[in-house]
C-alpha cells in the first residue's frame, strides 16, 4: 500500500518504531522530563496517561520536535525513529514532521476549504504531480479520517464550519494525508462530546493498521479502550510502561495503582 522504507525489515524483527533513551527536557531551569526511556512499537496504539503537568504532552512533542518552537526548551538524551537520532544536527525538523504527523488537543483546521486543509501537506511536500493525483490523495486521506461521506459534497466549504468532532477528524485526515509513519495525538478527544469521541476512537483503532499511534489522554477509560500499551507519567518520570491490560489490572508501582483507582491525579 505504501512505499516501504528500507528499514522495514529491521522494524519487522524488533517491531520497535521509536526508541527513547534517558530523555531529559528542561524549560529554562524547570526539569520537566526526567530520565524517560521508552520503546514504542509499530502498529500499536500507545497511550500516555498521568495527571496534569506530568510531562506526557511535553514528551509527545519531543517525538516530532515541536518543542523546537519554544525558545527556552532544551532536550537531552536520544530519541531514535527507525534507528535515526531525530535530534541529530543533520535532521531537518521539517522532514521529520512529515514522517511523524501530529493531531492537537483543540481541532485546528486552517481557515481554508476542506479540500485545501487536506491538500496543504501533500502540496508542500510535492506529493502530487497533477490535480487528479492530488484529488486522489485528498479523497484517500478523508476516507482514512472517516469523514469522507460527510464532506464529499462540500469539499470547497470552509473547514472551520464543521462541527467539533468533524473538525478533529478533518485534522486527523490532514495528518495522515502526508503519509506519516507515526501519528502523535495530544488529547485528541478532550474538546469533543461522547459521540464524536467514539467516532475518533474507532478511527484510532483503524489507524493502528498502518501507523504507530501515540496518544496522550486524560481519560483512563479511553486509554483502556483504544491502546495496547500504556505509559504512566508522574512528575516528569515514566513510572510504569507495560501492556494496557497489565497496567489497568495488575500495576506494579503503587503510584500507578493510586492513579488508576482515582486516589491521586
Amino acid at each position: 500500500m505504501y512505499d516501504i522504507p528500507h528499514h522495514t525489515q529491521e522494524t519487522a524483527v524488533t517491531d520497535v518504531k521509536i526508541k527513547a533513551k534517558d530523555v531529559q527536557v528542561y524549560y529554562g531551569d524547570n526539569h520537566a522530563i526526567k530520565d524517560v526511556s521508552v520503546e514504542i512499537d509499530n502498529n500499536t496504539v500507545t497511550a500516555f496517561i498521568g495527571p496534569s503537568g506530568c510531562g506526557k504532552s511535553t514528551f509527545l512533542r519531543c517525538l516530532n520536535r515541536m518543542n523546537d518552537t519554544i525558545d527556552i526548551c532544551r532536550v537531552e538524551g536520544d530519541i531514535l525513529i527507525d534507528g535515526d537520532d531525530i535530534y541529530d544536527k543533520r535532521v531537518d525538523p521539517v522532514q521529520l514532521r512529515a514522517k511523524v504527523g501530529m493531531v492537537f488537543q483543540k481541532p485546528n483546521p486552517f481557515p481554508k476549504s476542506i479540500y485545501d486543509n487536506i491538500a496543504y501537506g501533500p502540496r508542500i511536500h510535492g506529493m502530487a504531480r497533477n490535480k487528479a493525483e492530488l484529488d486522489d490523495i485528498v479523497e484517500r486521506a478523508l476516507r482514512r479520517g472517516a469523514i469522507w461521506d460527510e464532506v464529499k459534497d462540500r469539499l470547497q466549504a470552509p473547514g472551520t464550519g464543521l462541527s467539533g468532532g468533524q473538525q478533529q477528524r478533518l485534522c486527523i485526515a490532514r495528518a495522515v494525508a502526508t503519509e506519516p509513519e507515526v501519528l502523535l495525538m495530544d488529547e485528541p478527544c478532550s474538546a469533543l462530546d461522547p459521540i464524536a469521541t467514539a467516532q475518533v476512537e474507532e478511527l484510532i483503532d483503524e489507524l493502528r493498521q498502518n501507523y504507530a499511534v501515540v496518544i496522550v489522554t486524560h481519560s483512563m477509560q479511553q486509554a483502556a479502550r483504544v491502546s495496547q500499551k500504556t505509559a504512566f507519567f508522574h512528575l516528569g518520570n515514566l513510572v510504569e510502561y507495560d501492556d494496557t491490560s497489565k497496567i489497568f489490572t495488575n500495576p506494579e508501582d503503587s503510584r500507578t495503582e493510586s492513579y488508576i483507582t482515582g486516589r491521586i491525579g
Partner: protein, 440 residues
C-alpha cells in the same frame, strides 16, 4: 456563642425587595453609565463644532467671484498694442473699452474710473496679452474671459467685506462697490465654482483668487507613493522577522524598545534628520517629494511595524502548530497561514500610518517643501519625484500664514480637501478589512 454566630449571618429578605447593598451597586452602575454618556456627548459636541466651523470657513474657498467679459481682438488692435511701449496698459485700455461697450449694450449707464478695474480685477492687461500671444489663432474671434475678482471684491460677495466696513485704500474704494453692484445687475460679475482651487497651483501673496491646491495634492500623492513603496515592505519584513524568527535576547529587546520609542519621536526631529542626511549629506534635491517621502517613511515605519506585530501576534498559535505539524517550514507557515490571517490588521495599520504621514507638516517645513510652486497642472505631473513641490498640509500652512483674508479662507478650504483624502483612506481601510475578514 452559637447565638452570636447565628446573628452575624445576614437575614435574607424577599427577592422582590432590593436590599441596601444591591441598591447601592445599581446606583453606582447607573452613575457610571451616565458618566460615559456625558463623556461621549462632550466628544460629539466638539466634533460637531469642529466640522461646522471647518465647513463654514472652508466652503467659500470653493466659489469665486468672476468677471465674464466677451472680448474681441482684431489683428490691427493686436499689432498696435504690441508696438506700444506699455503693452499691457494698451491691452487693459482695450479691455476697459470692451467692458464699457458691454454695459452700454445692456443700456446700463455706469461711469467708472478706469483705475477701478485694476482694483477689481488685478492686472487684466497681462492676462489678455498672454492669452493672445499663446493662441494667436484666436485673434479676430470673440473670446469670453473669466477673470477672478480681487480678494476684497470676492469678500464682498461672501460677506467678508461690506459697505460699512470698507475703508478707502489703494486696494478698494467704496465707490468701486457701486460699479460691482452694477456689474452684478448686468450679469457680468457672477459667483462660480472655483475649479482653479482644485487643480491650480499656489499664487502670489496678492492674488488669493488664483491660488489652488491641485499641485500640492500631486506633491502629496508622489510622497505617499514613496512612503507606501518603502515603508510597507520594510515594515512588514521587519515585523515578520522580529515576531516569528528572531531569537529572544537582549539585542531584540533593545530593538523592540527602540521601535516603540521611535513612534513617539516628534516629527520635526525626523525633519531635521532628513535635512541633515538626505539633503546635506546625500545631496538629494531640496523640496522634492522623494525626500519628503523618505522622511515620512522613517516616521511611518514604527507605526506600521507596531501594528503589523500586533496583528501577527493575534493569529492563534494553533494555526502555526497545525502548519508545522504537517511539515511546513517556518517560512511556509508564516507566508501561507500567518500572514494572510494578519493581512487585515497590517493593511489597516499601513493605511493609518499613511494617513498620519499625509497630514504631517513639521518635517516638510525643514526639508523645504513649503516653497511657492507657481507651475500649474499638468506640467507638475510629468516628472514628479525630484522636482520641487509642496504638499497639502504644508500648502495649508503657507496660506494660513499669509496676510490676505482670502488666503485664510483658502487654508480652510485646503483643510476640507485634506480631510476628504483622510476620510477616503480610512474608508478604504475599513472596506479592505471587511473584505479580508470575510474569508472566515
Amino acid at each position: 456563642m452559637t447565638d452570636a454566630s447565628m446573628n452575624s449571618v445576614p437575614v435574607k429578605g424577599s427577592l422582590t425587595t432590593l436590599d441596601a447593598r444591591t441598591k447601592k451597586r445599581n446606583a453606582a452602575e447607573k452613575r457610571f453609565k451616565a458618566y460615559g454618556l456625558v463623556a461621549i456627548m462632550i466628544g460629539l459636541f466638539f466634533l460637531v463644532v469642529l466640522a461646522v466651523s471647518i465647513l463654514r470657513s472652508g466652503i467659500p474657498a470653493f466659489t469665486q467671484a468672476e468677471v465674464r467679459v466677451e472680448f474681441t481682438l482684431t489683428q490691427a488692435q493686436f499689432d498696435e498694442a504690441e508696438s506700444q511701449m506699455l503693452k499691457t496698459k494698451a491691452y487693459e485700455n482695450l479691455f476697459i473699452a470692451a467692458l464699457q461697450s458691454q454695459l452700454e449694450e445692456r443700456s446700463l449707464d455706469v461711469t467708472f474710473d478706469p483705475a477701478a478695474i485694476e482694483r477689481l480685477l488685478g492686472k487684466t492687461g497681462s492676462t489678455i496679452r498672454e492669452y493672445f500671444r499663446d493662441s494667436p489663432d484666436q485673434i479676430g474671434s470673440t473670446v469670453t474671459f473669466n477673470l477672478a475678482a480681487s480678494s476684497r471684491v470676492d469678500g464682498y460677495f461672501k460677506g467678508r467685506v461690506s459697505r460699512d466696513t470698507v475703508v478707502d485704500s489703494r486696494f478698494l474704494k467704496v465707490t468701486d462697490l457701486d460699479l460691482v453692484d452694477a456689474l452684478v445687475d448686468a450679469g457680468i460679475v457672477v459667483t462660480a465654482f472655483n475649479w482653479n482651487f482644485l487643480t491650480g497651483s499656489d499664487s502670489g501673496v496678492d492674488n488669493p483668487g488664483g491660488a489652488g491646491i491641485g499641485v500640492s495634492v500631486i506633491g502629496s500623492f508622489f510622497m505617499m507613493l514613496v512612503v507606501l513603496a518603502l515603508s510597507l515592505p520594510i515594515g512588514v519584513a521587519a515585523s515578520i522577522y522580529l515576531e516569528e524568527f528572531a531569537p529572544q535576547n537582549w539585542f531584540t529587546d533593545l530593538i523592540e524598545v527602540n521601535i516603540s520609542n521611535l513612534a513617539a519621536v516628534p516629527s520635526i526631529v525626523f525633519g531635521i534628520l532628513g535635512l541633515a542626511v538626505f539633503i546635506q549629506f546625500m545631496h538629494l534635491p531640496q523640496s522634492a517629494p522623494l525626500v519628503g517621502g523618505l522622511v515620512l517613511t522613517l516616521m511611518t515605519l514604527p507605526t506600521i511595524i507596531i501594528s503589523t506585530r500586533a496583528s501577527l501576534k493575534s493569529v492563534p498559535p494553533s494555526i502555526r502548530e497545525a502548519a508545522l505539524g504537517v511539515g511546513a517550514s517556518k517560512m511556509q507557515t508564516v507566508f501561507h497561514h500567518v500572514l494572510p490571517l494578519a493581512a487585515p490588521g497590517i493593511l489597516t495599520g499601513t493605511i493609518i500610518g499613511l494617513a498620519q504621514a499625509l497630514g504631517e507638516t513639521a518635517p516638510l517645513l525643514l526639508i523645504g517643501m513649503v516653497g511657492f510652486i507657481a507651475r500649474a497642472y499638468p506640467e507638475g505631473v510629468v516628472s514628479g519625484f525630484i522636482d520641487p513641490n509642496s504638499a497639502m498640509p504644508a500648502q495649508i500652512y503657507t496660506w494660513a500664514s499669509r496676510a490676505d483674508p482670502g488666503f485664510y479662507e483658502k487654508a480652510w478650504g485646503g483643510i476640507i480637501i485634506l480631510l476628504m483624502f483622510l476620510l477616503t483612506m480610512n474608508i478604504i481601510a475599513i472596506i479592505l478589512r471587511r473584505r479580508f475578514e470575510r474569508r472566515w
